[in-house]
Amino acid sequence: MIWGVVTFPGSNCDRDCVHVLRHVLAQDVREVWHEERSLSGLDAVVLPGGFSYGDYLRAGAIAATAPVMDAVRTAAGRGVPVLGICNGFQILTEAGLLPGTLLRNRHLRFICRDVSVRVESARTPFTQRLDNGAVLRMPIAHAEGRYTASPDVLRLLESKRQVVFRYCDPDGQVLPAANPNGAARAIAGVCNRAGNVVGLMPHPERSAEGPLGSTDGRQIFESVLLAIAGVR
């Protein structure tokens, strides 16, 4: 299958995502520039982390209006799996492809460290290989990761199983102390109604190789391989 990894000016995890897909998972990758208008031929799309357009105005706000986002919207509508990691998640919420928004962390500081997240919905192409309740160890690195939405939207997310990941302790317990940024309902990742667009704050590409401390993140990419194989 062919993956697309989008680079906006200011993206800084694009090369890391390309590295993992190409060298760890032996996938074909097309590097997509933010001014491109078509994503045809791609089987999955990744919006990587970073500080697109310097995160000026609001994190992800300017990138959400980039030419490539129309193509992302079209691809998402066709059911192509789209993964937004960190800044990519912020862009997807700003673009209206995912519900809610990401505010400054509770303590107003950038946080970089490992966290545990629990898989809450194995129905997405990115979690299909995992079991509900599985615990993944992955790093976070963000200043604006506090997921927020209106009470109605939060209720709907829960009832439609759109909460994909929740911060938890290493044993899978969702506790206030395990919530690094104050996210509503400890939400670390969500999906759209159809389930093919997923955004999460932790970085699966940073936890895909043993020497870096964890290979849990790899399963998120591998799930898509399974999902695409199942479709074909």
Binding site: P9, G10, N12, C13, R15, D16, H19, V20, H23, G49, G50, F51, Y53, G54, D55, Y56, R109, F110, I111, C112, R113, P139, A141, A143, H203, E205, R206, E209, G210, P211, L212
Partner: protein, 739 residues
Amino acid sequence: MTGIAHAPPRVGVEVAPEGAPAGASGLSPEEYAAVGAALRRAPNTVELRCFAVMWSEHCAYKHSREVLRRLPTRGAGVLQGPGENAGVVEIGGGWALVWKMESHNHPSAVDPYNGAATGVGGIIRDVLAMGARPIALLDSLRCGPLDDARSRRLLAGIVGGIAGYGNSIGVPTVGGELAVDPGYRDNPLVNVACLGLVRTDRVVRGRADPPGAVLLYAGARTGRDGIGGAAFASAVLDERAEYEDRAAVQIGDPFAGKCLIEATLQALETGRVRGVQDMGAGGLACAAAEMAARADTGVVLDLYRVPLRERDMAPHEVLLSESQERMLLVTSPEDVEILAAVYRRWGLEAEVVGRVTDDGRFRAQFDDALVVDLPADLLTHAPARHVDPVPVPDPAPLAARGIAAEHALLRLLATAELAGKAPIYEQYDHMVQVRTVVRPGRDAAVLRLPEVAPAGLALTVDGNGRWCAVDPYGGALATVLEAAANLACAGAVPLAVTDCLNFASPEDPQVFWTFARAVEGIADACRALGVPVVGGNVSFYNEGPAGPILPTPVVAMVGLVPDVTTAPTVPQDDNLLVLLGAADSGLGGSLYAREFCSSLAPGFHRPNLHTAGRTLSCVREAVQRRAVALAHDVSDGGLAAALVECCLILDRGASVTLPGPVDTGALFGEEGTRVVCVVSPDDLTELQSLAATHDVPLSVLGHLEGDRFRIAGPDERVAVDLSLGRLRRAWMSLGCEAG
């Protein structure tokens, strides 16, 4: 306007009145006279401002040049030593590392966030200017004691600035250090090192060559920020600095910085770039003059073609602005459009602003008028200033107060130097670029390099103003050894050193003596270890209204780890705590002396370079062979602190019996090169035979056990018996919140 011979053509530029403006420009009367004598005319005001910046201590190394010649700068694999934008050392497989550290002390005193942020931006561009992708940062920070709200605010701003810039541009900050002293209260130190990676056949240099080539300005526009920043960095801060010197501080734009990195690397990939230099201290003038002087060519700048973000900027402002995120490229006229297109794709400016000549002149035109016409090498070669050094007498010994060991240990663990730095490094993205194998908080950070797999690089930055205050030579020597010990604990062979030499005014003969002695210490230690110093900087005039800073040479060392892929051994409860190396147990310059004695005074026994070298080889080999589960060097806080840190890293208690008397010196002395190892009983024989081969003293001090930390003497009298939880609480108390 009298007595001027050979007056160059100029319109609208005042000729500086003879003699008078020397004080205002920062030049001494002798230097002003030297300019006039060399030119055989008075400089005009634009030229004078160029001299003020280019002949500042910061740019010209007037006081330090002679002394710095003592440093060893050559060695196997050194492709570029000092004198360029950064040092370059071959690491095999067709790859080289680029290594450079710089200070941004004065700007950080005035505007901590922007001062520190632009310190990161500046050092990254130095590495980029050699053709390398920046892959890691280290930060060495010093400020006033953190019980003072102003120092906490300053530190919070500095850390915020490093995070704000480094995180955004996607270069991980993988390690660093922090120390406090009242001397740093008004003059904090911000030293940032950057590591880059470049293919050996892609190394570029800051040379304006050949004549006929053009100068391509690339990056952000030029504004009025940072004008005269280099001169500002070469003066003593006073009480008004915080309010009055803001215009001398640059404002960074990390977004433009990130685009500049990617665009410049893509421009270099085209193979059409002949030379590159970043426009940092001294701005366009300094970059162009240095590039011409290195290549023995000349340059003509068209100032009206420089992209500006403010209207009506004067010629000297355009020349000397230190606006950030700008590079100067040398290329042939036919390749300009190819390179300019790369930069414009990233939303950056790209304009031809001058050309290379063969006449050795540094000239600048503004609206068709020639406003600067100087010999390029005059501008880049300020006359050296000589100071007769006067030794600082040894401080008188003072007795330590009797403090209970447990109380002392808990208090030491809570100091800024020893306390866990997670509140700082968790604000830095230390994982981006997916290379970080050993994260911040250990002796050295380790990065994997898939380019030369399975090898990797270990990095550390170390400084110790206390040791150097007591003995500048021995303290600097011990600083280098500590950096080497940190690398040995990661199993790394040292490859290169870069240093920041932070001192007070060199015009003070005692400060100058201290500086010279410290450089000798670095030189002797580097020579003994066979490590070249490939670059760095000198920061003088670090004093506030309350007085000078401690003499603070800071050393950043990088080394090669042959194999980073093997998983480390997991420690078990019966693992032994073993000490390699031996030392006198004096308290001179120790953290204990600072906390509990009336001065740092009581002596400092210099480490023996021979025994230290053997200890480091032994540790390195043991780590490489996986004969130890953990190695950690004895430094701030002495043996007691090193043992506790091992326990905190492994989350296990320990029971330790010291072979000699358990006095404050044995517990908290920081002398010598000593390393604590955690060893499985099965591996002890191997470690013992390694120690015997290298002729290194080895003593088994105890073993890991339970959740209490105990130290007893040979008479079984217990000096320390504390729970790991209590130790951890003390260690996790770093207060660096603003407010």
